[in-house]
Structures are given as C-alpha cells and as structure tokens.
C-alpha cells in the first residue's frame, strides 16, 4: 500500500516499476514495447503515431511533470475505444493530429516542447482539442495509478472506512473543543 509519508519523488522512484507492472498485468491493453519507449498501446483503431501524438497532446493539456506516461495512456486508450465505436471520432482525431503535424512543419512529435505547445495552444477550444480535454478530465484522474500519484485513497469500504484510519489525524492545527466536535462512538 502507498505510504503517504514518502515524498512524491521517492514514491515515483521506488514504485515506478510497480506502476508499470500493475498496468501490464492488470489492464491487458498496455504492454511493454520498444526499448526507446516505456509504453506502447495496443490500439484497436488508431495507429501508433496517432496514439503517441494524442498522449503527448494530453500531456500539454493536463501537464503533471512527474505523472507517469502510463497514466496518460489511459486517456489514449479511451480515445481509441471511442474512435473504434464511431468513425467520426476516428476522423476527428486523425485529422487533428494531421493539423498538429502541419502546424509544426511536418512532425509535431519531433518538435521541441515549446514549439509543440505553441501549435496545440492555437487549437484550444476546437472540437479535436475538446475531445481530448473532455476525455482526459475524466480518464486521467479516474484510475488507481493516478489516485496513488495524487495521494487519493479511493475505495474506503474495503478498508472499513477511516474511523480508525486517520479521518481526524491532522495535527498541525489545534483540535476543536468537544462541544464543536464530540468524540467518536466506540464500543470499546
């Protein structure tokens, strides 16, 4: 389980391989691939360069410097599912990536970070951009890897709630008096 006392940097350093292992074994749609790249996606509709561009586009739209690509890959997975279910979405995403490439003089992914941003920023609010943003605002933050990264603890029921697991463990402010905040019920 995640130890919240570890700093985020340490967490990522020490558990990065766990993240990868978890994804590879549990999701099935992601697997290890080329040595130059930690991630590749088993895409059903979109081709690999499109998928890579969408992942990078998502990193520009919701930039979390230390958030693993593996988490961004969930967004690409959901975009791919949407594209597989609707040709109009597939076309929207494919055409959008073509626009990114054209804006970067041919290969948007090969451009440097600043140049990439200038190109995608111009597309803010258009249908392509909104498709990625609208998908990502859910997919990026709605998975256990993201929850671990941000420190959110997810399902409390399976752990019996927080009554004995820190619902009131904050120590850096004074405790309220008992009339404002009475003690919890206890059978012991």
């Amino acid at each position: 389980m995640l130890d919240l006392d570890l700093t985020r940097r340490n967490f990522l350093k020490t558990s990065g391989t766990v993240l990868i292992g978890t994804l590879a074994s549990s999701s099935g749609v992601l697997s290890m691939l080329a040595p130059s790249q930690t991630w590749a996606l088993e895409l059903t509709k979109l081709d690999k360069p499109i998928g890579q561009s969408l992942l990078q586009a998502t990193r520009h739209i919701f930039p979390h410097a230390t958030l693993d690509d593996a988490v961004y890959a969930f967004v690409v997975k959901d975009l791919d599912v949407a594209a597989a279910g609707d040709d109009a979405v597939a076309k929207l995403l494919t055409d959008g990536v073509a626009t990114l490439n054209a804006g970067a003089g041919g290969d948007w992914l090969a451009a440097d970070n600043d140049k990439q941003f200038v190109v995608i920023e111009k597309m803010a609010g258009n249908e392509f951009f909104e498709k990625i943003r609208g998908t990502a605002v859910v997919s990026l933050y709605n998975n256990e890897l993201a929850w671990a990264h941000f420190g959110y603890e997810g399902d409390a029921w399976k752990h019996g709630g927080y009554l004995t697991r820190g619902f009131n463990d904050l120590k850096w402010l004074p405790d309220p008096p008992a009339d404002a905040s009475p003690p919890a019920f206890s059978t012991s």
Binding site: G154, L163, N168, L170, P176
Partner: protein
Amino acid sequence: MAKYDLKDDGVVVIIGSGAGGGTLANELCQKGVQVVLLEAGKHESNDSFVNDEWSSFGQITWLDSRSSSGSWRVGKDFNGLPAWICKTVGGSTTHWAGASLRIQDHEFRVKTEYGDIDGANLLDWPLTLKDLEPYYAKAEDKMGVTRTHGIPGLPGNNNFKVMHAGATKLGYKNCNTGRIAINSRPRDGRASCIQLGFCFQGCKSGAKWSTLVAEIPKAEATGKLDLRPQSHVLKIEHGKSGKVTGVVYADAEGHQHMQKARAVCVAGNSIETPRLLLNSASNQYKEGLANSSGQVGKNYMRHMTGSVYASFDEPVHMWRGTTMAGIISDESNNDPKRGFVGGYEMETLALGLPFMAAFLDPGAWGKDFTAKMDEYSHMAGMWLVGEDMPQESNTISLHANNKDQHGMPTPDVHFDDHPNDIAMREHAFKQGSAVYAAAGAKENYLVPPYPSTHNLGTCRMSAKDADGVCNAHGQTHDISNLFISDGSQFTTGAAENPTLTIVSLAIRQADFMAKQMSEKAI
C-alpha cells in the same frame, strides 16, 4: 409487500420515492392507507452501492436527457446536466450529505421581511415556523438528526478541523459538526458512521438516513406498500369532474400501464414534478394540471451556491470521513448591510480526485489547472449555500422538439442569477476565503456552482390560489385529490439544505390526507 390491481381506485399513488415521496409513503402506510409508490429508477441497496465516484454517478444519477438555458454558469459548464439528482429507489436521499437544518422563522415570510426586490417574485409561505415545529421534531427523530433528541454530534474530520480553526480565528461563533442525519450512535436498526467519505455515493454502511434504508423498509413492513421501481410516470389522468383518476407509466420494458388512484401525490423533484403536470395537459386543463395560476414550472430556485477550496503546506486528506462534516452558521441571518438580503451557510465539502478534476474549474486546462490539482491531498473545502431569489422567468418547461426514451418531451431548465444571488455569492466567496486564510492557506480556489442538487419552488405553496400551485398542505388549489409532495412546494428557498423541511412537510401532508380521506373529502 402489497400488490394492488391496476384497476384498484382505492390506492394513493405517489410518484417518486425520495425525501418527499418515500416519507409520505411510509407515513400513509403507517396509518393503514394503501399506497402504490412509483419510482422511475432501479432498486439499489447498500450492497450494490460503490465507493467510486464515476461508477456511482452512473448508477444512481438521473441521466435522462435534459437541457438548460439562461445565463447561469451551470448552463455553460454542464448544459445537459443542469441538476445532480437521482433516479433510484430513495431518490436524492441516496446522494444527500445529511445536513438537517430548520428553516428560520423570518425565512417563512420574506416578502414581509425583505420588502419588494426588483425582479424577485417574493411571497410569504402560507405557514409559519410555529406550524412546522412539531413536524420538524418528528422528522429529526425519524431521521436521527445529531444534536437533536439527545443524539450526540458526529466527530469532526480533518476537513472540519481546518474549517473550525479558521472560523475561530476569524471570530465566527457558530461552527460545529452540525445537525446531520447520520448516526453518531447505532440507532433505529442502523449502524453508526465509520467515516467512509462516500456519503454522496449511497452510504454503504447505512449510517446515513435515506428513504431507501429507513422509510421504505418500514412502509413495506406494514404490508400496505406496493413499490414499483423502474416505473416512469408519463401522464396524470383526470375525469369529467376534474379530479385526477390515475396515472400512466412506462415499466422497465417500456410497456405502458394505467394505474387508477384515489389521490395522486407528485414527488419527482422540482424538475420532473412540473414537467409531469405540464405534460398532463388536456382539453379541460390546457396549460397543464393545477396550473390555473400559471405558476407551474415557474420560480425555479436552486440555492445560491459556490465552493471554496484552499491549499495548505501540510496535508489535509479532506476526503476522509463525512462529506459534510461541519457547518458555520454565522452568515445565515438576514443582514442587508452586507449588500444582499437573506443569508447563507458554510458547510465542509470534499470531492474525491475524479470529481475534483471535473468540478474544480470546468473547461479549464493547462498548467494553472494542473498546479491546483497537484495540491489535492493538501486541500480543504467548503460549500456555500444560501437563499436565492425566486424569479418568475426561471422556469422548467417542456422542450419543443426533444423527447425522452418514452416519447415524453424533455425538460428545459432556464435560469439566470438574480443580482442578489451574485452579491451573496461574492460575499460568501470572500468570507470562505477569509476562513481558510485564517487557517494558513497558501491559495484559495473559488469554484463555480455544481449542477443543482437543491431544486425548489416550481409548484409553490401560496395562501391565495392566484399566487401559487398548492396550499399549505401541498394540496393543489385546482384539484383536491392532487398533491405536491416534494421541494417544488417551497414558496421561497431559505438558506438551509431543504431535505429536513421536505420530510417535515411530508409528515404534515400525510396527517392532512388521512383526515381528508376519513372525511371522504378526497
């Protein structure tokens, strides 16, 4: 459980099983009345509820097509989801956070207290706090509201500690863990709270009062209740006399049935209730049922709302424990010197990471947004909820073209903020920010309204027939055996979370209906 024949015209039909309908059903069944309770949603349970925000959202939320219009920000951010209410047995009591506050004395007569406000369709309630007090007491006992009837308050969580520290430094005097319908001790066959933090998602432990876990099982135990989930009412029928005779509903397969009735009580929440009355228009009632005043669907209120989240150097873990863990009531009075009439409550609120991403700044992107999200584990949060002005132009109407899965016109929710609502929100943002600044916040995030959870006023009660849709008992002015049994009855919104008042009105209505039935008046 009872099973009544579709042709049985001795039953009372209640439409909707939430705070109003679910409570009314139990109260009537306890008196021996035969009740058919029609609920559009499915029958979930503590076992089927999930501690997962988006999954739960898909499980219990009313997601049938709706549209919105007007200048309110919800209309832009969540155009197809103007309200965040439920389609499930228990209605929005499965989703509510439990805050159980009585409406204040002066809030029952705001036209008298506030005077004329430009653009506001103010009206005094046809009943007073004194009239409602005995029913508030019964409701609090029924619901196990903390800090009433000798029930201890709940313990405050980390989010409350931050609120309390800031409130105290700021000089507020009324900050505590509030009156909440969540068991602080085992009570009424239900366990005490284990601080799950998923109050909005149904409460798997059953510590939170809902009609699903409290009223409906008790009604079923009487043998008088015929609960029919997945039964979506499309139309209320009436006879030549003008009295209602039954309802037409679609079952899970979409097959339509006509259930006869002695009386019909509509409790579909303030969007569906007027929608149904409007959709039941006939040759005799061309503008819809009970609409001789023209007020059906008008005066839609949704409370002045907004949220303040703040980030701190140290962790908070605000998601741990009850969602609405504490309240500051110091701003709930009417003090026009602040620049607005009416007041507001400040109540802790926490969102999980998935919902925080969706609601923190809808539509936002880029590093300003993600820098805030990076602070998630160090955030505290509060919701601001206050009285909004009823405006006749804020309406629920039938969409001209769009139809739902049953062929029923979809509702359009039109809303513009009143200048008083805006002034109050600005004040509340300022005070909420000051609370967190006093507790040592690094930064405050002012969060615009979520889709409406407090939907009120669209079939309001009034002393005079011309001013509203129903009387002080929820009986419609036009049709004696047709009742409004939910928050649609509210004449004005008051600052308080409405559920306790809806439940109290339902208990009172049940007494009235039983008397009317015994006198053969209905």
